[in-house]
């Protein structure tokens, strides 16, 4: 207990120091960045040798490496080329094809834990919609979804090119809010939006919102974009809105979910897919609006390399161990 308290105080002091005393922002020069990379590599080789000798390093060392691989790249000045994949291009093309004034339905089906992956997509999506003068109808099948949408919009409006468009609530975009009922909500929206959203996020009656007054169901929607982190999400949208009501839909998914979307993508049920942070970065590149997705990709690269390194180390040790065992026998 006493030791815990000591550690806690140490953490507090470090935090205070970092908060008040350290000059900010910190950025490593390229040279320093490369030295850091080399040091990490050397440490990995050391672990490799230890593991081959049969001494597995503890969980905490592995954890530490992951932490380092994620945090240090924030301060590095390293750039990496990003290649555009076809499924991301499809989303971009679909939005670019819409005429100004087209109505886009955006369903936010995620909560804050998945925000790091999906929030950059949401921001880029709003920026693109505003640039193209599209009308956006926001809703959510997850209770926290509409809040995430509000956050993304606030962020979007800080960009001068978006702020200058003077987007008006009710006319250019609305937030219908959240409704419980999962796929049933989608099903009923198929006949009538208003029955599911009698009031919007702010309690305004549906009919007093000029943008949606004449929107009855999916047939009045030109394109739909769904950001999804699980159930209910893209699968339900595809099964109900796309298959039954013929909605045109693109989607942004967490990477975990993205793999299960490929069959739908190939089947043409989905028009475009942004998968995980990588999808977000590519989308930013396609729209030429660099944001957090691109920035985070450096950390992402590093962390993947670390995981791959650990798989290789673990397996190498495993095979050498097997060999030794067989030699003994």
């Amino acid at each position: 207990m006493k030791r815990d308290m000591l550690i806690y105080s140490a953490i507090l002091i470090i935090a205070l120091l970092l908060y008040f005393a350290v000059p900010k922002p910190i950025a490593f020069s390229p040279t320093v960045s490369y030295i850091v990379i080399v040091l990490i590599a050397v440490a990995l080789i050391y672990i490799f040798i230890r593991t081959i000798q049969g001494k597995y390093v503890g969980r905490r060392i592995v954890f530490l490496f992951v932490g380092i691989a994620v945090v240090l790249p924030f301060f590095m000045t390293v750039t990496q080329p990003i290649r555009l994949s076809p499924e991301v291009k499809m989303v971009y093309d679909a939005i670019m094809k819409l005429k100004p004034g087209s109505k886009v339905l955006a369903s936010f089906d995620y909560d804050p834990p998945s925000a790091p992956e999906l929030q950059p997509m949401a921001e880029t999506f709003f920026r693109l919609c505003i640039e193209r003068d599209l009308k956006v109808i926001i809703m959510g099948l997850w209770p926290q979804g509409p809040q995430q949408a509000e956050m993304a919009l606030r962020k979007t409006m800080t960009f001068p090119e978006a702020a200058s468009k003077n987007y008006k609530y009710g006319v250019d975009y609305v937030n219908l809010g959240f409704q419980t009922g999962n796929e049933f909500v989608i099903q009923r929206m198929g006949s009538d939006f208003k029955s599911m959203f009698p009031n919007d996020y702010y309690g305004t009656p549906y009919d007093s919102l000029p943008l949606v007054r004449n929107v009855k169901n999916f047939s009045n929607i030109d394109y739909s974009f769904n950001l999804s982190a699980g159930y209910p999400g893209t699968v339900e949208w595809v099964q109900v809105a796309v298959d039954r009501y013929g909605l045109q839909m693109g989607t942004g998914n967490t990477a975990v979910q993205a793999t299960s979307m490929y069959p739908y993508l190939r089947a043409g049920q989905l028009i475009g897919l942004l998968g995980g942070l990588n999808g977000a970065a590519e989308f930013e590149k396609a729209c030429n609006k660099l944001g957090k997705g691109t920035k985070f990709m450096v950390s992402q690269s590093f962390s993947h390399v670390i995981v791959i390194a650990f798989i290789i180390i673990g397996n190498a040790a495993f095979f050498l161990g097997e060999k030794k065992k067989r030699e003994k026998e």
Partner: protein, 214 residues
């Protein structure tokens, strides 16, 4: 309030991360608060969204009296709290299970069987002719064949009423390989997703809170 909030959020973020070192009182405090707050969050949200907005306003303002049936079913669910008549709660349960079963039959049949089969049935070489280059045609044709063969053999693997021997066994083998590669791809994407989440948290600590990053 904003800055105070950032410090509070940082307190909880670091508290949860401290679990990686070991189980400790800080983590336990965070965990307990998490359990209480998350339960309360859903409790309040569902109350206002379903019981107030959907049920109360539905009945009082829109005159939708069918909602009373739902309320009765919901109350039956709560009867579980009284052991003597707790068995009544099986009725709403039966309702929920029946509805999902019916819905699952339709949705999975239409979207997962019909549509997926439809899309497997494509000409294996057709888009070979409208590709810009010869190599693109080969690439797509091979891809189409892989999809058809992979789906076919993968389904053979799931065949239960025949022994996996001989030709059938060979196909099932190819099927399980396809499935394993699929899992590998899934795994890769999952790693990507988890790392992104961690990046998000670290961005909060070093960016939003400590403001060490540009």
């Amino acid at each position: 309030m904003q800055i105070f909030g950032l410090w509070v959020a940082a307190f909880f973020t670091l508290g949860i991360i401290s679990f990686l070192y070991k189980d400790n009182p800080w983590y336990k405090v965070c965990e307990s608060i998490f359990v209480g707050i998350s339960a309360g969050y859903w409790f309040v949200t569902l109350f206002w969204d379903n019981i107030y907005s959907l049920f109360y306003l539905g009945v009082a303002e829109r005159g939708n009296y069918s909602l009373y049936v739902g309320a009765v079913l919901g109350l039956m669910m709560l009867l579980r709290l009284i052991p003597q008549i707790g068995w009544i709660s099986r009725w709403p349960l039966a309702f929920v299970v029946g509805a999902t079963a019916g819905l699952y039959i339709i949705n999975y049949f239409a979207s997962n069987i019909m549509v997926q089969v439809e899309n497997t049935l494509t000409p294996l070489f057709a888009d070979a002719f409208n590709q810009p280059t010869f190599s693109a045609s080969v690439y797509n044709s091979i891809g189409n064949i892989v999809v058809a063969v992979g789906t076919f053999t993968g389904l053979v693997y799931f065949f239960f009423s025949k022994e996996h021997k001989g030709f059938m066994g060979g196909m099932a083998k190819i099927g399980i390989w396809t499935i394993m590669i699929t899992f590998g791809a899934s795994f890769g994407y999952t790693v990507m997703s988890r790392m992104s989440l961690l990046i998000g948290r670290m961005d909060f600590i070093f960016g939003d809170w400590l403001q060490l990053i540009k």
